[in-house]
Symmetry: C2
Subunit: 221 residues, 2 copies
């Protein structure tokens, strides 16, 4: 194997170009030539690393998904060693909100792909798993909260988890369109969480704390 080059790195470099173009002008702007120019490589390279355009779109989405999962894991790990269920659920939900450029772009890319999800089975498979897993995760955490007495027994765990995830998901659009500030979105999530987690043991209930956990992220123009 001559001229050994980091394949994954190249693929990521190209995938990022796809994302940038998709967030800017939708999939119709993701043309082979534009991607090549945006990534600073020749158009031939795209064929070499991804093949056809459809495969490029699929590959770029897979890389995006892997990225998202890893980032979420990192951010959850950053909560500290004994975060408390309330804080964990909050962290999961906030991961869905466009609180920084990375998460905004991620959602924009998903939106750009969305219509294709319905038609292209290969793409659909990639997109279908994530949200369901999130709901189950949140439901599990809330159920744990019930065990520990942090959440009232009366509430319907599955229904609340589903609505929380769905609500966070729905808020992405409004925030991106500038109809709601990120702070308002976080406040709405916290309002619902406060209703569900009526008693937290490890006192993580504060919205933007003194330390800059989820600080109000840079100027939204």
């Amino acid at each position: 194997m001559p001229r050994q080059v980091d394949h994954d790195r190249r693929r990521r470099q190209i995938a990022e170009a796809v994302w940038r173009l998709a967030t800017r002008g939708g999939l119709e702007d993701v043309t082979l030539r534009q991607v090549a120019a945006e990534a600073g490589v020749s158009a031939r390279l795209l064929q070499y690393y991804f093949g056809t355009r459809d495969q490029l779109l699929l590959g770029a989405l897979e890389i995006l998904n892997d990225d998202a999962e890893q980032r979420a894991r990192e951010r959850l790990a950053m909560l500290g060693e004994a975060p408390g269920l309330h804080a964990i659920v909050r962290g999961v939900l906030l991961e869905l909100l466009p609180l920084d450029e990375e998460r905004s772009n991620r959602h924009l890319v998903y939106v750009a792909y969305f219509v294709r999800f319905l038609a292209d089975p290969a793409l659909a498979k990639v997109a279908r798993d994530a949200p369901r897993a999130l709901e189950d995760l949140v439901a599990g955490l809330i159920a744990q909260g019930q065990e520990l007495g942090q959440v009232p027994r009366g509430i319907d765990v599955a229904a609340e988890a589903a609505f929380l995830v769905t609500g966070a998901d729905g808020m992405q659009a409004t925030v991106l369109l500038g109809q709601r500030t990120p702070e308002e979105a976080v406040a709405l999530i916290d309002h619902q969480l406060a209703r569900i987690f009526t008693a937290t043991r490890t006192a993580h209930r504060e919205p933007p704390g003194p330390n800059d956990r989820h600080r109000p992220h840079d100027p939204p123009e």
Copy 2:
């Protein structure tokens, strides 16, 4: 004026072709030739009625918006003469769900346009007004409910209204992707509404389908 022809009707006919193509393959499939073929007219007609492609996209969106507003009004009027606040709020929220092909397609069209909303000011203007108005409407209705004793005083009207609308909005994606059945989505909405409207005067609480209200949604695959 010779050969008088219903302009609005023609424009609608063309706009519908745009919607169909957009829901099927996104905006990149909305090419002048394809729209012409789908609408059964010559490509020249599109230019005649809409002008450039961008103007066609904008025009088709405006017609879609007008449609949506009128349909929502019709459906709300169909609730009867003294619907009760709970039923009205429910009707408004259900209007956002993809419960039939028309509403599904409408949301798909919005999604197809979404990325453009962020870049194109003319499009953004069209899209920005509707959701905020919906929130205010729901908030007003819930506040009325408080006055009438149907809604507990303790709840934060604005926050709940915002989360309801946002949740309904977020549910569109999951339903369209087949991750949740429409019945489950309705059940989740009803679950939240039941929490807010603790006492309804005119007993309009049942959903339309069989009374399987918020059963714990099982894995559909």
